[in-house]
Amino acid sequence: MKKKGIISTCIILAIAIVCTVIAGTSFYNKRNFKEDIVTEGSAVTRTYKLSTYNKNLKGTIANVDIYVLEGKEPGGSILILGGTHANEPAGHMAAIVMLEQLTVEKGTVYVIPQINMSGLSHNDPLEGQPQFIHFTTKDGSVRTFHFGSRAANPIDQWPDPDIYTHKPSGQGLSGSETRNLNRCYPGQKYGTLSEQVAYAVTNMINTEKIDMEIDLHESSPEYAVNNACVAHERAMAIAAEGVLNLEMDDISMRLEPSPVTLHGLTHRELGDFTDTYALLLEVGNPSQGRFRGYTDEKLVITGEDPCYVIAQKLGLLYVDYSAGNFPLSLRVARHVAGCAAFIQAYNDSLDDDARAIIIDNVPDYHEMVETDDLGLYLR
């Protein structure tokens, strides 16, 4: 090698090492960042680990906390799942707001806000999305939360197969869907990490005889299933009443039946493999849509994007984007109001109130939208 060649090779190699260190540190810090969820002063009566329902999760990143809010009186129970898709922050944040704010008079509320912790620990490649989002609380402290990926982290389950075969249905999906938690239900005890998590949730619902389950999501504003509730056929009557209650409160919500032949999703498999009433809520998220422009924390929180203003004018959206934004506070408020409305509808469906779930201190939808500051609803 000539001297000139040696010098250029050394310079390029040095730049590569610097890039590796910068990227590596950033990814490592993201992977190891622990969100602090405040239970002090909340109605959380106990926390325990998801591995209670699948021992194989012990020692993995997926062994997350289950937060339990128990009422003074025994009654029915509900499981709220947040963060299934970690690039849909309203689901993750709504679960955190509820576990930190709700009080329970009767029955039990289980909340798992980080159900896809592996997905929260990294970002989707090439999407340019932020790693974290921040909120200032009433007392002025800043709280930091993950913005993650739709899929589990490849370092937890790698490589992906060419074709992902869902068990037990045998449905074939593209290989990367093997890391999509919401295609892995009812799950496998000894499967991939995502399948093991799904198995734990199914087992939890069966073991604790949980009456209702709500999985909180977001979707692109141009996607048809939006501002919607997807319900398993057994949960349809409750969902229909819940949607009517929401409409009466000026919160428009579509009702979609869970497709019978689309497997692996909570609203299908948890309805089929457990006795729970399985529901899934969707709300429009501009920071995840394909029409979006520059993507940063501001877009995640305000939902303000000039490209979506154009899309709205062209009639391409399934959410009302006439205000030119779709803020996270509104999206979280929709999820919180949705959970409260479906709990009410579930209570109304009961013959007697032995299995009722009575919650209180639900943050008001209109107040959350008006104040437009999620930090006020965090401890």
Partner: protein, 51 residues
Amino acid sequence: MTFTTIIYLAIAVMVFASVLYNMLFKETKVVDKISCAMILVCLILRIFMIK
């Protein structure tokens, strides 16, 4: 870590070694060396399982 992951990691290490060898001793054009360097960054992160 599953057996398949270990096999894939071994493949990643071999590709890394081969790309590094090419960069140091085979490639003469600067653009090709830069291409090699860009491949090395991704490979080293995967070998250390940092994502």
